[in-house]
């Protein structure tokens, strides 16, 4: 009876794996070669060395009986089954498009000539590096990310310090500060668009003119929104780290006469350095990839003139640009608004490389500051 049940379970499991790998099965021909190579490596018989063979045959027989006679082959087949369900969609929806994307960035794909695009070498990249729009977009994204990282982490750390004190309603505060993070970027964008366009101007004073229609204040307005959304989440990371700081260290420093600021600087901060690494990495990546909130808030932002130094570099006087045209938006626009898919893809590749370099550098430098207890 038990055996039957396990057989049914086994069968159901195989059906499930099969269903999940339908795409793989259906494009079997191109993948067959890879799979064969893979199986060859995996199913290779490993010669197990039994040092005690001859000395204790009964033990060996017992072990064989318990583990099944061709145990290695069984394990290896299981290895493939178990990994298939995760790796198939990952290959199909991430890796294959990623590799295709590298190729497309070297073609003149426009979205209208799909299938007929031709290889044009580095022309797209040259095009991008000589365009002031992308340089401006990068410049704004860099400013935005730096300000964003500072503000979010500052606010989050202060909030974390606040709610780890002995307050009465700590759990309420934590849940409350975390709340904005539950709502999607797009929905948040509409909420704040209303606040900036209607609610705040009705108060009057300096707020009469909407903050998001002024190119000088639009970024500040966006940073307020993102900080409001994200600080609660980052706060949670800091709380977890702050709770791991041993209280006896704090007590000892109190007895030694250190004031609150000294305690924070010399004991708490070094001990939560690991949390700083993670939090800064997370804020950096989200700032760089910011798309839906900006889209819902200002759709790229109010128009402004190109800053003087970029006008000089690109010899492009008096051009107008969109002040919140961050990189993610720039990529989307060149692909789906101007239908320059090849250019958009090349921008995406540059974006990827920049993000990779910056985040690796950041993690490397932060790691050096971490202290092991």
């Amino acid at each position: 009876m038990k055996n039957l049940k396990s057989k049914i379970l086994n069968g159901l499991f195989k059906i499930w794996v099969f269903l999940l790998s339908i795409p793989l099965v259906l494009i079997y021909v191109p993948i067959r070669g890879i799979v064969r190579q893979f199986r060859k490596i995996v199913l290779k018989k490993h010669d197990v060395k039994h040092h005690y063979q001859g000395h204790n045959r009964t033990l060996l027989a017992l072990e064989k009986g318990a583990l099944g006679s061709n145990e290695t082959a069984q394990t290896n087949r299981n290895f493939i089954y178990f990994i298939l369900a995760a790796i198939t969609p990952y290959l199909l929806f991430v890796i294959v498009p990623f590799l295709m994307g590298i190729y497309f960035s070297f073609t003149n794909w426009t979205g209208l000539n799909t299938g007929n695009e031709i290889f044009i070498g580095f022309a797209n990249y040259k095009n991008i590096f000589s365009s002031f729009a992308f340089a401006y977009s990068f410049y704004r994204t860099a400013i935005y990310s730096v300000l964003n990282i500072i503000f979010i982490n500052l606010v989050a750390f202060l909030l974390a310090l606040l709610v780890t004190q002995k307050l009465k309603l700590t759990n309420v505060y934590r849940a409350g500060f975390f709340m904005p993070n539950l709502i999607g970027g797009l929905v948040l964008g509409y909420i704040w668009q209303f606040i900036y366009r209607n609610a705040l101007p009705s108060i009057g004073g300096i707020l009469t003119n909407s903050l998001i229609s002024n190119p000088d204040t639009a970024m500040g307005a966006l940073i307020v929104v993102i900080t409001w959304q994200y600080a609660g989440y980052i706060m949670m990371i800091y709380i977890a780290a702050l709770q791991n700081v041993p209280t006896d260290l704090i007590e000892a420093s109190k007895i030694d006469g250190a004031n609150a600021w000294q305690r924070l600087r010399t004991i708490t901060m070094p001990l939560v350095a690991q949390a700083f690494t993670i939090a800064m990495f997370l804020t950096l990546v989200t700032s760089f990839k910011q798309y839906d909130t900006v889209m819902a808030l200002t759709q790229g932002g109010p128009a402004t003139t190109l800053p003087q130094f970029l006008q000089n570099i690109f010899a492009a006087p008096n051009r107008t640009v969109e002040s919140l045209n961050l990189m993610a938006i720039n990529i989307y626009d060149s692909a789906f608004v101007r239908y320059e898919m090849g250019v958009g893809q090349a921008k995406a590749i540059i974006f990827f490389i920049i993000l990779l370099i910056i985040s690796l550098t950041q993690v490397y430098y932060n790691k050096k500051k971490e202290v092991e207890l």
Binding site: P23, I83, A86, L169, Y173, A240
Partner: protein, 285 residues
């Protein structure tokens, strides 16, 4: 002693004030969701004159053809639920064999999964849309604007983080339990679902929260795979669609915003303890 109590009291007040400030946007939205369009334009900071307008607005949204709230809500729920189940189980299985197989290729495959964590969606999105068309012409199965297409896409994009976190957690589970189970005649599948999965519960919850928030609120992936007017469009798409077709009709937009945010907030209020614990324990790992 009194000094310290005074300090705590001041901190308590600061915290309450900050909490009020944090809730201010929600408050404005709720307040204006109960007004007519004209009232909102005239006095956005005033309290609504009567509660019945809120019901009228909600009914307008529920019957609005460009939102199709019930349908979109179901789609979002379906996609999120199944993506979460599939991501977690498939990544858990993969991570388990990757940890337990001490071979060079398993490290290589693990590295291969990790590589996905640094690939931003923007790099993959354009070729992905095209590749889905290619897949359709090869197999005859449509992937765009279908449940399985979106769910498989989320499985692909969710796999790296999930495999990474399961892998990290799994290393701390002693192998003795599994050996004992093998000797008792447990098959691999039984072992995974009966022994490993229950042990993985804490990290499982973390991933449910992280992936759940991401998938429920995601906009860019659905807009590309499903499309603004797709059959299986999710709640964010419905809101964007409404905001696109009724520009600055704040009574409709704000009510739809309330209705879109409500399910997650209600869920949060009920499962608050698990969600907060899940988020923090996952982040620091």
């Amino acid at each position: 002693m009194t000094n310290e109590r005074k300090a705590t009291f001041i901190l308590e007040i600061i915290a309450v004030l900050l909490l009020v400030a944090f809730f201010f946007p929600f408050f404005i939205v709720l307040m204006n969701a109960g007004k007519t369009s004209q009232e909102i334009i005239n006095a956005p900071m005033a309290m609504p004159s009567s509660i019945s307008q809120f019901y009228i607005n909600v009914r307008n949204i529920l019957t609005n053809p460009s939102v199709r709230y019930g349908r979109s809500f179901f789609n979002s729920l379906f996609i999120t639920t199944f993506s979460l189940i599939f991501i977690n189980i498939s990544s858990g299985m993969a991570a388990w064999v990757l940890v337990r197989t001490k071979k060079k290729y398993s490290t290589l495959i693990f590295m291969f999964f990790l590589a996905g964590m640094v690939i931003p969606f923007q790099v993959v999105m354009l070729p992905l849309v095209r590749f889905l068309e290619v897949l359709r012409s090869w197999t005859g199965i449509p992937f765009k604007d279908t449940f399985h297409g979106v769910i498989l896409a989320y499985m692909g994009f969710g796999a790296p983080l999930s495999v990474f976190m399961f892998h990290g957690f799994m290393k701390s589970i002693p192998i003795d339990i599994e050996e004992a189970a093998t000797i008792d005649g447990c098959t691999k599948i039984q072992m995974f679902f009966r022994i490993i999965l229950p042990i993985l519960k804490p990290i499982f919850v973390t991933l449910l929260v992280l992936n759940g928030l991401w998938i429920w609120n995601d906009y860019l992936l659905p807009v590309l795979i499903i499309g603004m007017n797709g059959k299986v469009r999710t709640l964010p798409l419905a809101v964007a669609n409404l905001a696109g077709s009724y520009v600055r009709q704040w009574d409709l937009i704000l009510t739809s915003v309330v209705l879109a945010a409500l399910p997650v907030i209600v869920l949060f209020l009920f499962a608050q303890k698990h969600i907060i614990k899940g988020m923090t324990s996952g982040a620091i790992k």
